[in-house]
Symmetry: C2
Subunit: 344 residues, 2 copies
C-alpha cells in the first residue's frame, strides 16, 4: 500500500514519512519495480487505453487506414493512452469478433470506416464508448466523424468543369456505400449546376482498388466507348485513380494532355503517381486526432450521448446533432488536370 502511494500516487488516506518514502523509492529502484498495468486497471476500472478497429485489407497495404491511424497514435500518445489495433477482414463476417474486442481491455473504441447494420449497432455493449470515422452508417449511441463527401466530389468536378470539361467519366466506389452515393451526388450536382446532362453511361461502379480502377477504365474505353469522347475522369479514390492512370497509359492516352484524371483522398498515392494527382484531401490525420479527443471525453463522461439534452439553464444544449462532426475537404491541385483536348 505504502509503495502504491509513493510510486504510483494512489489517492489513499495512507500517509508516509520522508524516511519511508525514501526507502520505498530505493527498494523500487533496486528491484526495478514497474507497476502492473493490468492489476492497476482492474482496480481502477480504467485501462488508459483505446482500441482501434479497422478492416485492413490483408492483401494490399491500406494507406487510407494508415493516415488515420497515425493521427490516432499521435493524439493518444499526448494523452498517454495505449493504442491497440484490432484488425478485422470484414465488418459483416467479423461481427462476433468485434463484440469480443469489447472485453474491458480498452476503455473505448474508434471504428475506422465501419460498415454496420442497425441490428448490429444494437448489440454493441452500452458501457463502451464508440467513435466512428468515415462510417457508412450513422451509428447510434456513438460519436460519428465524417467527411463532406458530397461537397468534396462537387468541388473537384466543378474544378474540372471550370477547366472546360463537359464529358466526365466517374469511376465510382461500390454503390452500397453511403460514401460512394454521396460522391456520386456531388458529381451530379456539379454537372447539374453547369447544365450538363447526366449520362449514366459515363458512370461505372467498381471497388476501392487500383485493379478495379484499371478494369473499369478499360471497360469504359474498350466496351462502352462513349461518344463524344470524355475528356476527364473523376475517380472515387486515389487508389482507383492510380489503376485508371495505368489503364490510360496502356491505351496510349496521355494525362493530362489527352485526358484529365482526378482522385479523392489525397493519400500518399496521389503524390507519387505520375503525373501526381489533382485530388480532394480528406483530413485523415486531423480526424484521427479528433477521434481520440472525443473518445477520451466520452470515457471521462464529459460527453454523454444518452443524455443529449442538458438542463435548460445551461445555455447551449448539447443536442443529438453533436454526436456527428463533418470535416471539410480541400481541393489539392497537382498535374493530372489540363484543359480538354479538342475533339479527336
Amino acid at each position: 500500500m505504502t509503495a502504491s502511494v509513493v510510486l504510483n500516487g494512489a489517492t489513499s488516506s495512507t500517509r508516509v514519512s520522508q524516511a519511508t518514502h525514501a526507502r520505498v523509492v530505493e527498494a523500487a529502484e533496486k528491484l526495478s519495480y514497474r507497476r502492473n498495468a493490468v492489476a492497476h486497471g482492474l482496480s481502477r476500472r480504467r485501462m488508459e487505453s483505446i482500441g482501434v478497429v479497422a478492416a485492413i485489407d490483408f492483401g494490399e497495404v491500406n494507406l487510407y487506414f494508415l493516415e488515420g491511424l497515425n493521427g490516432i497514435l499521435e493524439e493518444s500518445a499526448v494523452h498517454e493512452q495505449i493504442t491497440t489495433v484490432y484488425s478485422i477482414s470484414d465488418w459483416q463476417k467479423d461481427e462476433q469478433k468485434i463484440l469480443q474486442f469489447c472485453d474491458s481491455r480498452v476503455d473505448g473504441m474508434i471504428l475506422i470506416a465501419p460498415y454496420f447494420t442497425a441490428e448490429f449497432n444494437e448489440k454493441l455493449p452500452k458501457h463502451t464508448p464508440f467513435v466512428s470515422m468515415h462510417s457508412n452508417y450513422i451509428l447510434q449511441n456513438s460519436y460519428n466523424l465524417s467527411v463532406d463527401n458530397e461537397g468534396g466530389a462537387y468541388s473537384i468536378v466543378r474544378h474540372l468543369i471550370e477547366q472546360g470539361h463537359r464529358r466526365i467519366i466517374h469511376l465510382a466506389a461500390p454503390d452500397n456505400l453511403l460514401e460512394a452515393q454521396l460522391r456520386l451526388q456531388g458529381y451530379r450536382r456539379a454537372l447539374a449546376e453547369a447544365n450538363i446532362a447526366y449520362d449514366a453511361n459515363l458512370v461505372i461502379a467498381g471497388e476501392y482498388s487500383s485493379r478495379s480502377g484499371y478494369s473499369c477504365i478499360t471497360e469504359m474505353l474498350q466496351v462502352r466507348m462513349p461518344q463524344p469522347f470524355p475528356t476527364a475522369v473523376f475517380c472515387a479514390s486515389d487508389t482507383i485513380a492510380s489503376g485508371c492512370l495505368d489503364g490510360l497509359y496502356n491505351a496510349n492516352l496521355r494525362v493530362p494532355e489527352d485526358i484529365s484524371v482526378v482522385g479523392f483522398d489525397d493519400t500518399l498515392m496521389a503524390r507519387i503517381t505520375s503525373p501526381p494527382l489533382t485530388t480532394v484531401r480528406q483530413p485523415f490525420r486531423k480526424m484521427g486526432r479528433r477521434a481520440v479527443e472525443v473518445l477520451i471525453k466520452m470515457i471521462r463522461g464529459e460527453i454523454d450521448l444518452a443524455q443529449p439534452e442538458q438542463p435548460s439553464d445551461r445555455g447551449t444544449p448539447a443536442d443529438a446533432e453533436n454526436a456527428m462532426e463533418i470535416f471539410q475537404t480541400e481541393l489539392v491541385l497537382r498535374k493530372s488536370v489540363g484543359p480538354p483536348k479538342r475533339e479527336v
Copy 2:
C-alpha cells in the same frame, strides 16, 4: 466459479451438472456476459496479447513499417493474440517510454527496426520476451530477425553490372546504421567481383526519405559531377529512389534510357513510381508473421534464450546462434533498369 468453468472453460476441480450448466449459459446470454479480459489476465498472468514498438515517422507515412505490421496482425489474429502498437518517435530519446511499455499489459514485444545501445539493452526487463525485426544491433536476450542486407545489395548491384553498368552511384542510408553499412558492403563486393574500382565520389549518404534522395542525386549531378558520367544509381531504399527519380526527371534524364535506377525494400512505393522500380524485396510480411510465431514460443517458454545449451543427450543443441534468423531477399525486376547509354 461455476460460471467461470462453464463459460470460460477454467480448469478448476469444480464440477457442474447439465442443469446448472444450462442455467449459467442462459443467464450469461440474458446478461450478455463477456469475460473481463483484464481480470482474466491478472489471474492467469497472461494477457494473450503482444506489443509492437515502432518508430513511425509522424511526418510521413511509413510503408516499410506497415508491411511488417500487416504480417504481425495477420499471424497474431491466427493465434488469437491482441496486438498493441506502441509508437515512438525516436529510439534514443524514448528509451524511458519503451521501458514503461513493459507493464505486463502484453506478454511479449516485437521491436521493429530498433536502434539500441548495449547499455539500454541491459535495462530491458528480463521477464519480457523480445523479438526484434530489422535491428541495427544484435539484441542480447532477444530473438533477432534480420534480412540479408549485404547479399541483397550485392545481388542488385551485380544485376546492374550484368546489364553493362560500371559507373554506379550509391545513394546510401545513414552510415551509423548497420543496415546501411551492410548494403554498402554488398555494393562494394559486387564491384570488386567485377574488377570495378570503388569510387568514393559516387557514394553519398543521406537518410531514408524521398526528400533526401532528391537532394542527394541533385548534389551528385550538380556539385560532384563525376566523370565518366554514371549510368546507374543504386538507392538504399525505394523511398530514396522515388526522390532520386524526381531529381533525375528535373535534370531531364530519362529512366531507364539515360540512367538506370534501383531501390531496396519493394514496398508499395516501388510498384507505383514511374517507371516502376527494379528493387530488392524484403519479405516484410513473412518476417512479421515469423516474429509473432517466435514470440509466442518464447512466451510459452518453448524457446529459452537464457538456456542456449540443452542437455547434451538431446541431439541438436539449441545454441546462441538460434537467437537470430536471416531472411533472404529477392530481386524484383521492373522497368527502371536498362542497358547503359553510350557515353554522352
